[in-house]
Symmetry: C2
Subunit: 661 residues, 2 copies
């Protein structure tokens, strides 16, 4: 064990395990997770070659091998509890996306939700047993988030009782679905349903893609891999061009809407049924923002206590780089953010579970708010985590660029979440739509509840035209509840400003849609402020659940740092609205510095509490034992360019150059 | 040609070629550049397989092949003018770093600067003719920016008149030098010189690494590739462990300092001689910030007029995504930034050329300021460009993640510049040191000149404790010269705040070094504000050189957008210091929106003016003809996973899974 990191652990003021239990949601969960981790990591069959040393084809091959082995082992051990499956998958995949993710995460669940009993009989068990391997083919080359624009058609032919599936243009080629390129032999294809001369919009169809025996693509099916990407290098994200492929009428997923044999279309009972899945996935992404950022923070903080560099006092030994105020200022607010997002993720998951019972019983009353909240928080946390992961990487100097740090891989596998499952700017505008609507309802006298309840007061409160430092809104800038209050007021003011911008545009005789587009900057800003308020509030609320005094104390410090750092980064908003005075802004700068010093002794303990196994983290810089340099050397020596001492290019190109003088 | 992009070009209000001449530094330069581009790109020998389709060994191989060919061709055509060489290299390498970069960019120049005439005779021509291929081995596993901490030793043995080169620890292993892993047979090694029992600090030594004939590593030389990285995938960044390797005394570069045969050490005449190179390289990096960001902006803007998505007005065709205010708000300030950095790069290069004559004559008077300015601007522009490239990538939705967009490659090859040649935070603090020193000199009555001249007024000016909206500092927020003024005042105030923070720490009886470290956040903030002021000022100055009215008009719009957008992102600073009033902040928000609309018709023309050849850009999304989708399909089909219809992993792992039920 590296002596620096030992010393750090000795300086912790709280019991690390107890904080881990809070993060996992209970001691039993932590124990079960660790049990599964040791089960997987002690099995040498799950060892892998560092994917960074492999070609794209070899990476894909290794991922498929490990997934197949995992399925066998989980069958063997009878692992069936959803949490257990998640723990097991994470260990095996080491948090990397893999080719079978969409089979397990989208194909099977979509069957469960949208297949008729007859369809379940035909498809579910073969899919469960991996005879059928499926994916979910929604996005096309020309359309992502805007689903209505999808171009693939499913045209019903009553004569043969078949659908003709077709990709009418280049831009209609299905593009991006994971596992589509090489792995799947079936896909659930989203297509515009045409029957009896009418288009009824998007519906889902099961389309066989490859021969069940030879795995060769079927006639009319042009399928393949979309080529190398930023991240997701194990996954065969694919393209699919359907050339008038005929499938039986029974392959349309008909639990809700139907096409009768004669071509008559039967509408679904409610359009809101698909909402639930989106909300669930976005809530999951919020939790993943916390998880990915926690990993990056773990690596950067551990490395920053092992790395010594430069000098603070001349003549003294080189200090750990975490002694530098600038390094603390980079990493501690990120550490606080990782905790904040983790707690928000917990809240979202719990809330979803709480109301999903209502949803399945047809009670959608809480869904619109949750839908708006998950959209915005998905964008807020993925943008925040994505940028912060890069700060962690760059805080490790040159070695952060090495693939052995794992930081590049964390980034490239995480950053796509800013785009998939709803492009972030579009998500922010969806939340804004809900906020503006709520604001208008409040103005019209309706009483709002939930996270937007603060908009009830917008009538009573007047937007302050000037900073009024004489009468500050908060008396003590280090009082978290006061800060929650001013975050709330800031959100309220920015929602009002956005609503007024739309109003002004309308008064200038702009159409509603143009008025909206011409206010989009303000709308995104309002959503951002709303989400920021929610995160600060949920972090503050979480403190109320923490009984252990030592942990309460350190988490309170983190929460305060999160809130104050957010204010310094958005100080214009708070000053402009008169929520803080200029002297208070100065106090905040001083407080932030004090909080950084205060957190310093607990920095390593706070990342240890995330409890990432070294194999999950897979980072030479972030090793638990802190033995960075010797392991970096060993890693480098095993890299592919070192397979021979002399690369053949020397004989082919460099030596001949001499004779050509 | 895509009709959308044709329409965009028709709406331009200025002559694109004339703007290209301004960016290139003159019409002749543009013409010569285009001539060389067509020479290289018409030669099929320079064609390449998309590196994203290759393994790391194949990528390295292709890069060496093309470099060797380039050297032959340049010899053949007698290309020797520095600009011509730069143009030629860029075309061949398509802006990617390659294994021979350090031979040409560091090994040869270091010989020129530091070798004695005898050493020149021995080494220069063999190196020029590629018998000797060298690199520059400075950074070690344990030390990067902090050079004094380097551990490699060169111990003089008077008995044999040799230096013993040694890597005493794991952390002393040379790490990162480009071309060190596989390509070079020599290295200039920086090591701590010990002679007659005394250490005289870092000196440079020529160390043979590999057998000239077989290319096998020499005895005691442990050398290899450091493994895969984020970017630089063509380059064999290497490690070098020296195990008591003996080299003749004559291998120390002795133009300035010397070791006599008896071991006597002779000091160099001036320590400032190495300054010049650093300044030159950092000035080059500033220019590259502009270039890399221009490429990213070109891709994102062109794609944003080809891509149609969603709806602004229901029932209307899907608009180009550049019609959305949020998309303009992402991209146009970045476009303005790309222009700003390009002009700053031009200024830095010119200034360096102007004073490099003085430097070689031993006149260093302007060097400290230029050194401080390049350090800060290197950090300011690389951070800014790095973040902005990612915004460009994400503004392209899902396709920005595909390697065919080129955006991931631009990012990973550019972002290392935040760390190499001086880690950015360290650079900011170096600039801050100069600023604080200048501030103290001004306080002491000394008259400052150059970019810090504004600090002369800090005595007279009082930091405003409160926003004083009644008497605004600028009358018209759309007047660029007024904005330059308030950027200057902001810098001045933040330098003063940082200096006062140090003062306060000292008054609390902190040591000088601790006071500095405890003020580091404020110091970085002051440097950032100083650099921001310089960039706004240089952009504004550049307008004065532009005669063409149409171009002057569009560049003025960009400059104003750059300045106002910077204010909205740092509004707290301007409000806190009373430099702008709250109503003025509102006016600025409105102005920014108007500037976005105003730039819309010229967006494509402004990126066309950067004049990147399609082969240089190498982006399916950024193609000049706008034919994105069909080319994306073609690119994907040629990717390696599509070499066979059925991947072998199906037979190996997936099919067997069925039988194991």
């Amino acid at each position: 064990m590296n002596p620096d990191i030992l010393k750090e652990r000795a300086s912790a003021t709280f019991d690390v395990d107890k904080l881990t239990y809070i993060l996992d949601g209970g001691q039993e969960k932590t124990e079960r997770r660790r049990e599964i981790e040791s089960m997987v990591f002690s099995n040498p069959d799950f060892d892998e070659v560092d994917p960074n040393f492999l070609s794209s084809s070899e990476r894909y091959d290794q991922a498929v091998r490990k997934s197949a082995l995992m399925i066998q082992k989980m069958r063997e051990y009878g692992i069936a509890d959803p949490d257990d499956i998640m723990y097991y998958k994470r260990c095996v995949q080491r948090d990397k996306p893999v080719p079978l993710d969409l089979h397990l995460g989208m194909f099977l669940p979509t069957l469960l939700n949208q297949a008729t009993p007859e369809q379940m009989d035909r498809y579910f068990m073969p899919a469960w047993n991996f005879e059928i391997i499926g994916t979910y083919a929604q996005t096309e080359m020309g359309h992502g988030t805007h689903l209505r624009g999808l171009e693939t058609t499913a045209t019903y032919d009553p004569d043969t009782q078949e659908f003709v599936m077709n990709s009418p243009t280049v831009s209609s080629i299905k593009w991006w679905p994971g596992g589509l390129g090489k792995t799947s032999n079936h896909a659930i294809v989203l297509a515009q349903l045409h029957t009896l001369g009418t288009c009824h919009g998007l519906h889902a169809f099961i389309v066989p893609l490859r021969d069940m025996d030879t795995h060769q693509p079927l006639p009319g099916v042009v399928v393949g891999d979309i080529g190398p990407k930023f991240g997701f290098q194990e996954v065969d994200n694919g393209f699919l061009k359907l050339e008038h492929v005929r499938i039986p009428r029974e392959n349309m997923l008909m639990k809700y809407s139907k096409v009768e044999p004669d071509g008559t279309y039967v509408k679904p009972p409610s359009a809101k049924l698909t909402y639930g899945t989106m909300v669930f996935i976005r809530a999951y992404i919020v939790a993943d923002s916390g998880r990915s950022l926690s990993k990056a923070a773990t690596i950067a903080v551990r490395y920053s206590v092992v790395r010594h560099q430069s000098e603070i006092r001349p003549g003294q030994p080189e200090p750990q780089i975490l002694e530098y105020q600038t390094q603390q200022y980079k990493l501690f607010p990120i550490l606080a953010t990782a905790y904040a997002y983790t707690f928000v993720g917990q809240y979202m998951t719990k809330t979803y579970q709480r109301i999903s019972g209502d949803i399945s019983e047809g009670n959608f009353s809480e869904l619109p708010e949750l839908h708006a909240l998950t959209a915005g928080l998905k964008a807020f946390t993925t943008w925040g985590a994505s940028a912060a992961i890069e700060v962690c990487r760059m805080s490790c100097g040159g070695h952060g660029f090495s693939r052995c740090s794992a930081l590049p891989d964390i980034y490239v596998n995480f950053t796509p979440s800013c785009t998939y499952e709803g492009e972030n700017t579009v998500m922010m505008l969806q939340t804004a739509r809900y906020l503006v609507k709520s604001y208008q309802q409040a103005k019209a006298g309706q009483r709002l509840s939930g996270t937007v309840a603060y908009l009830n007061d917008t009538g009573a409160r007047r937007v302050q035209p000037q900073p009024v430092s004489a009468r500050p809104v908060v008396a003590d800038v280090n009082d978290l509840s006061g800060l929650v209050e001013i975050y709330k007021l800031r959100a309220s003011i920015l929602v009002e400003l956005a609503a007024k911008s739309i109003q002004q545009e309308l008064q200038r005789r702009k159409r509603q849609e143009e008025a909206w587009n011409n206010s989009a900057i303000d709308l995104v800003r309002a959503s951002d402020a709303h989400c920021h308020y929610v995160v600060v509030k949920l972090f503050s609320d979480k403190l109320g659940e923490v009984g252990d005094a030592a942990i309460h104390s350190v988490l309170s410090t983190l929460a305060l740092l999160y809130a104050l750092h957010g204010i310094t980064n958005n100080s214009g908003d708070f000053l402009q609205a008169g929520l803080l005075s200029v002297p208070q802004m100065r106090q905040i700068s001083t407080s932030v510095k004090e909080l950084l010093s205060g957190l310093r002794p607990n920095a390593v303990a706070l990342v240890d509490a995330f409890d990432f196994n070294d194999k999950t983290l897979n980072s030479v810089l972030g090793r638990y034992d802190g033995n960075v340099y010797e392991n970096m050397f060993e890693w480098a020596r095993s890299s592919p360019l070192n397979a021979t001492e002399v690369h053949e290019s020397f004989h082919k190109y460099l030596k001949p150059l001499r004779s050509k003088l």
